[in-house]
């Protein structure tokens, strides 16, 4: 009789652990969808940005072309999550460079359209930053669960592997400083 109860309890615990792992995996996917949505907003703004500034920004031609190329890669359907993360890293540092470079062109700063665009981009970059942080938290929870005892045994049985976090590049840290530049 007691054996049955103990068995029941063990099964219940196993089910709870299994479900919690599924929940954490799904949370990662859920948040990544959010990251995707916000990255898409940025990719939508890029053509407008490139068009508005390329006439003025002679020196940054190369970067603008690179951004356009990277964007074309990023909006292709069916690219892997790792590829998306890698592209985001590259584009972020380039976008950071462009936004800082805008400061050197008084004509651009006087342009209402460009200023409005800057505010929108600022907002999108802030949202992307938030999305990355949320994703990293979800991934950390997931990684913890698949590596810590006792859920790691079940995770191995389910063939769950570690997921990768977004690394915050130096370029992104510079984004925060753009705000300071606006005050001048």
């Amino acid at each position: 009789m007691t054996a049955l109860i103990i068995l029941g309890v063990i099964i219940a615990i196993l089910v709870l652990m299994y479900n919690s792992l599924i929940g954490k995996k799904n949370q990662v996917d859920n948040i990544f969808a959010g990251v995707d949505a916000v990255l898409k907003k940025r990719y939508d703004l890029i053509p407008n940005l490139v068009a508005s500034v390329s006439q003025y920004m002679e020196h940054e031609r190369g970067i603008l072309e690179k951004i356009t190329e990277l964007r074309a890669q990023a909006i292709k359907p069916n690219i892997s999550d790792e590829k998306k993360i890698a592209l985001d890293k590259e584009i972020t540092s380039m976008m950071g460079g462009i936004m800082i470079a805008v400061e050197n062109y008084p004509d651009l700063k006087a342009n209402q359209n460009v200023m409005h665009l800057q505010a929108s981009l600022n907002e999108v970059e802030a949202q992307i930053s938030a999305a990355r942080r949320a994703y990293n938290q979800a991934v950390t929870d997931y990684n913890n669960a698949i590596e810590m005892v006792p859920t790691n045994f079940i995770a191995q049985w389910m063939k769950y592997t570690r997921k990768q976090v977004f690394e915050i590049t130096e370029g992104e840290r510079q984004n925060v400083n753009v705000g300071e530049l606006f005050k001048k």
Partner: protein
């Protein structure tokens, strides 16, 4: 925004003549209170003694001092009413105008129940709700209002006696927030983590079904003092950037804990639950004491300075202009929100 030292100077240079007048008023009030107090005590004692000698010990002996105390309280409130009003009009109102002319002060009004409930910070039922000292207006291009609030609920025990419990007593601030957001994010003081440490505390928090999803922030000190609930993991982090978390931690230190915050419907709500009724003049201590002066100045600086403290006036994102919703909210208050002190409670 005037600095603390500028305000202190203003207090002493411009307001000092008024302060001296009020100090005289205060001293007169104290002697009046003392006289009446002694008189009432003497009469009560006299009646009590005569009853005792005539009828021996009975309940009336106890009831009379209690009645006298109630009467004393009522008389005290009535007598100090004018003095308090003078203080608030001459001193507090002028201090507020010195900080900004776009701010208005209304002694008998307070933040409406609409905003209090909308903030989603305190979920207890409201059986009694009052407050005072409402300040509202435009500071550095940000719509702001704050007041003292006292919200209570009542329970009945098995004997049918009523017990009043305070949900919130302190300063309640609301201001328009400078980012677009759709959901709700609520930040509460972290009692579980402080009591039980991060592992168990974390588990307890995530099982708190009455609130929304638990959101773990990536700043360890912030996590230690606060717990965040919200409707959207990404939006919560959009609102709580690393710099915003730092600023909220600073505010937390200045208010010694007791800090509750929420972001709902374009507004930020900040509740400082310190059990004080702010901006009240002292009766039994001198008005001219420096330390006392600084308390008023500091509270005003804290409340109004929230705008700069949290950089609510920074318009870096797409929310450049006041939204229609913000206007509606503040008009709503003008029409419906302010509850006047019609029902006066003496205790």
């Amino acid at each position: 925004m005037k600095s603390t030292s500028e305000l202190t100077d203003f207090y002493y240079n411009e307001l000092f003549p008024e302060l001296e007048k009020l100090e005289d008023e205060r001293k007169a009030l104290v002697s009046k209170i003392t006289t009446y107090g002694i008189g009432l005590a003497a009469i009560t004692a006299g009646i009590d003694l005569s009853i005792f000698f005539k009828f021996g010990f009975n309940n009336f002996l106890v009831a009379l001092p209690i009645l006298a105390a109630i009467l004393a309280g009522w008389v005290y409130k009535h007598m100090s009413k004018d003095y308090i009003k003078s203080f608030k009009t001459e001193i507090i109102k002028r201090l507020i105008h010195a900080i900004s002319e776009n701010l208005s002060y209304m002694q008998f009004q307070h933040i409406s129940q609409y905003h209090y409930k909308r903030s989603n910070i305190f979920k207890d039922r409201i059986d009694r709700y009052n407050g005072n000292d409402l300040v509202k207006g435009d500071f550095n291009d940000t719509l702001l209002q704050f007041s003292d609030l006292h919200s209570e609920y009542v329970t009945k025990d098995s004997k049918g006696n009523k017990h009043w419990h305070t949900t919130f007593k302190g300063l309640f601030i609301t201001a328009e927030f400078n980012k677009h957001f759709d959901g709700k994010t609520i930040i509460l003081p972290d009692q579980a983590e402080q009591m039980f440490g991060s592992l168990i505390g974390g588990w307890l928090q995530s099982n708190n079904f009455s609130q929304r999803e638990l959101i773990k922030m990536d700043n360890p000190e912030f996590e230690k003092h606060f717990v965040v609930y919200g409707t959207d993991q990404i939006e919560a982090r959009y609102l709580l950037t690393h710099s915003m978390m730092e600023r909220l931690l600073n505010l937390h230190k200045r208010t010694k804990g007791n800090l509750y915050i929420s972001f709902i419907g374009g507004q930020i709500y900040i509740a400082i639950n310190n059990g004080h009724d702010h901006f009240e003049p002292t009766v039994f201590k001198s008005l001219l004491k420096y330390k006392l002066v600084m308390e008023y100045v500091n509270t005003l600086n804290l409340a109004i300075g929230i705008v700069e403290e949290l950089k609510l006036n920074e318009k870096l994102w797409s929310k450049q202009k006041r939204s229609d919703m913000d206007e509606v909210l503040h008009t709503h208050d003008a029409l419906f929100g302010h509850e006047h002190l019609n029902k006066r409670s003496f205790f």
